[in-house]
């Protein structure tokens, strides 16, 4: 066992750290981390940030050098996430493009697709969204009903997508459609690289329970795509989707480190907030609960390290990532639930009036998305039971 970094990895970290100190938005490191509320300004702010990352060579470190990446090792990726979480960097507006679409195109895109999209993804000139879920296809993506029908060399697309992240700012969408009625439920699905800037595409934001609007409904009414927009083969889109999902090899890292940071923030609160002159943390129930959370959150991080070790030794990740996802998302919910409880009645206060952290209550509400988005905890448990433990397949699968 060895938890140290090599000199090369430490050099990588300090290079990144130095770059961040120079290039993060004005006042960011001093805690002025408010993003513009206006949708256009918000989008521009994040596009500028991605442009800046691109120019520094930090937008897509895991990509091959030939495409403008750094050929970063898995450990370098982890260092990257640690540092990004540490400074609470602005979100990457083209996350989907960089971490999912482009690597998939590198693997199975046509020469034209590679030329047309990959560089624009890297520079942030072109922002991507993903269009998988539908009102009737949430956990069960094979149930999608959006159709693409070929008419005179064009594909005419109709249907509705939901939970389409970044759709309101996106130029293109990685879109799952049904092109044939078929027996096998994973057959007849085709992936398009849909141009979002056309009349047939309408985007309506979804208001979340925490008040944020990070996702959208997308209504497709005779939206148009061409053969050149198809990824892989027509009718074989399920394979493309699986390939895309496997491209996030360091996927959970940011969440692991974020959870740890959030935990430390809750501890700070328990030390700082006093009731009748006594810090919350001096209450044995607060101490006990936090020690338990510390242990399990640290355990989740250590699990992740074991899985990375496994990946490094085997050259590819195993199904253990669903284990990490499940643990981290459930712990995020538990952490903020506990943080709410210990604040007492003053915990109902939000934003500027909040007892300690103006964001704590909002993070509590946001935490409910963690065990739903990206595969519900129920689906994760099925995956773990079936893929890791080899238990029999569930009903209807």
């Amino acid at each position: 066992m060895d938890f140290t970094f090599t000199k090369k990895e430490e050099k990588f970290r300090s290079e990144l750290r130095g770059w961040l100190e120079q290039n993060l938005p004005e006042g960011w490191l001093k805690g002025n981390r408010k993003l513009p509320e206006d949708s256009k300004l918000y989008s521009q702010f994040l596009r500028d940030w991605q442009r800046s990352l691109y120019e520094g060579g930090w937008a897509a470190i895991a990509w091959p050098k030939e495409y403008g990446g750094r050929d970063a090792t898995l450990i370098e990726e982890i260092v990257y996430h640690q540092e990004m979480v540490r400074v609470q960097s602005p979100p990457l507006i083209n996350y989907i493009g960089i971490h999912m679409v482009a690597p998939t195109l590198m693997q199975m895109g046509t020469v034209t697709q590679k030329e047309e999209f990959i560089e624009k993804i890297l520079t942030g000139e072109q922002v991507w969204s993903q269009g998988y879920s539908e009102p009737s296809a949430g956990s069960d993506l094979s149930a999608i009903q959006t159709t693409a029908v070929k008419k005179d060399d064009k594909w005419v697309i109709n249907g509705q997508k939901v939970w389409t992240s970044f759709a309101h700012v996106a130029d293109r969408c990685f879109l799952l459609t049904k092109t044939e009625k078929s027996e096998g439920k994973h057959d007849g699905i085709t992936v398009f690289l849909l141009d979002m800037n056309q009349p047939g595409v309408e985007t309506v934001p979804i208001v979340q329970m925490d008040g944020h609007q990070e996702f959208n409904e997308v209504y497709l009414t005779d939206a148009i795509a061409t053969d050149a927009d198809v990824v892989g083969e027509v009718g074989k889109g399920w394979k493309v989707l699986i390939a895309l999902m496997l491209h996030e090899r360091s996927g959970i890292a940011a969440q692991v480190f974020t959870l740890e940071q959030q935990f430390n923030r809750v501890v700070e609160m328990a030390k700082a907030v006093q009731v009748c002159g006594v810090s919350l943390i001096e209450d044995p129930f607060v101490e006990d609960g936090l020690a338990d959370l510390y242990t399990r959150i640290n355990g989740a991080k250590l699990n992740y390290y074991r899985n990375i070790t496994h990946t490094l030794k085997n050259g590819k990740p195993g199904p253990e990532s669903s284990l990490d996802k499940l643990l981290v998302s459930e712990l995020t919910k538990e952490l903020f639930d506990f943080a709410m409880t210990i604040q007492g009645h003053a915990g109902v206060l939000m934003a500027e009036e909040a007892l300690f952290d103006s964001d704590m209550q909002a993070q509590y509400l946001a935490s409910f998305g963690a065990t739903i988005g990206g595969g519900t905890s129920e689906v994760q448990r099925n995956t773990i039971g079936e893929r890791i433990l080899g238990l029999p397949k569930d009903l209807g699968r």
Binding site: S133, S136, A137, G138, S139, D140, A143, V162, W163, I206, V207, Q208, M209, G211, V273, Q274, V275, C276, F285, K333, D337, M340, T341, Q343, G344, H345, A346, G347, V348, L349, M350, A351, E352, E353, Q361, L365, F368, G369, T371, I372, G373, T376, S377, E378, R381, D394, L395, G396, R397
Partner: protein
């Protein structure tokens, strides 16, 4: 042996539920979120018309002279639709305080107005960074020629619908005491932003506010402890109403939502999840009924009955709402569905006038666990 609401109480429930349905159920709560606070005044009038605000007020003060059990259907049904406002504070906290400790004049002046819906009263007890049972107040009351003058700042005060009076706690030479202060005598009021946007809470500043003593000097803690039994019993009913609605809507959703070609209620993760909510609901309802019965009949075990009920239900309500969000999946995370409103309300009530830990501590003490003398009877009383 009869452990159920009686026929009249169930009929009353039906009437209130119909009224709430006519008002559009959670539409009232959503109106408050949208800033249309006038709905609350309409509800207060409706409550008076239906005789709800007269329930715990004696006939001398134009009330109905009924008890805690008659409030059970009321607050279950208002809780079911997340009715915003300070009905609980007025009917189940201020009224018992005035009823038990007020002078004849105070009763006449205040209670009949509450009964006919012309007045609501809130309670301003909490001070910043103090516990819910503070050892002392920084708010102080000084004697004046005509009564008292109170100076200090209270926070987390429920103010939706603009109550006419506040019952507040202040320090006097004789100890912690309760006072009545007219809303018009509040020096300043600052609305605070709350996780439950269907409620409105404020910080109130008193600056030599004219105040009338309520009850005896130095007796604030004991008076409030006693009145909080009424309040907590009613609060439990309100939370049970919310839980009942959550179980109902989650069950119906699980029957119609199809994934993997199955209604999701067929999957044991979903089915057993809802069953666990149902188990908690049944226990919550039993405990809340018994708490109200104990308060109404002033039984020897009323402390145990109320605090144990509160300790369970505060937690179970949050869990029911949180689990309901999860079982609804993506749509449960949106502002469109009501389930998130139940979560926020449950959170709002979690530590209101006491935490789960506080309630458990009080349960233990009321059971005599820390005294050598008390002995459990081997056969349950029933």
């Amino acid at each position: 042996m009869d452990f159920a609401l009686n026929e009249e109480q169930e009929l009353f429930r039906t009437a209130i539920r119909k009224y709430m349905t006519d008002l559009g159920k959670t539409d009232i709560a959503r109106s408050v979120i949208d800033g249309k606070l006038e709905v609350v005044t309409r509800v207060t009038a409706g409550f008076a018309e239906m005789g709800i605000s007269a329930i715990p007020i004696s006939e001398e003060q134009d009330g109905l002279g009924l008890g805690a059990l008659d409030l059970v259907p009321v607050f279950e049904e208002t809780g079911r639709v997340l009715l915003p406002g300070i009905q609980l504070e007025t009917i189940a906290l201020a009224v018992p305080l005035i009823n038990n400790y007020g002078t004849q004049v105070q009763k006449s002046n205040l209670l009949s107005k509450v009964a006919i819906g012309e007045s609501t009263i809130s309670v301003a007890w909490y001070e910043q960074n103090r516990g819910l049972t503070p050892k002392s107040f920084s708010t102080i009351a000084g004697k004046t020629t005509s009564g008292y003058a109170v100076t200090g700042t209270k926070t987390l005060v429920a103010v939706l619908g603009n109550p006419d009076f506040f019952i507040t706690g202040a320090q006097t030479a004789e100890g912690k005491s309760l006072f009545l202060i007219k809303a018009s005598d509040v020096a300043s009021r600052k609305i605070l932003s709350s996780i439950d946007e269907t409620q409105q809470i404020a910080q109130l500043t008193f600056d030599q506010a004219p105040a009338e003593l309520l009850g005896e000097l130095g007796e604030a803690t004991q008076m409030l402890d006693d009145a909080l039994l009424h309040f907590n019993a009613a609060l439990c009913s309100s939370m049970v109403g919310g839980m009942d609605e959550l179980v109902h809507t989650t069950t119906e959703y699980a029957k119609i939502r199809v994934q993997f070609n199955q209604p999701i209620g067929r999957f044991q993760a979903v089915k057993h999840g809802i069953v666990n909510m149902k188990l908690d609901l049944e226990t919550a309802r039993s405990l809340s009924y018994y708490a109200a019965w104990a308060v109404e009949n002033d039984t020897a075990d009323k402390q145990t009955a109320v605090h144990s009920a509160r300790s369970f239900i505060s937690k179970a309500y949050i869990k029911a709402a949180a689990d309901s969000i999860q079982l609804h999946g993506g749509i449960g995370f949106t502002e469109e569905l009501d389930v998130q409103l139940y979560l926020k309300r449950a959170r709002y009530y979690e530590n209101y006038f006491g935490s789960v830990r506080d309630s458990r501590k009080k349960t233990a003490h009321s059971l005599g666990w820390h005294t050598k003398s008390t002995k459990q009877t081997p056969v349950p009383v029933f």
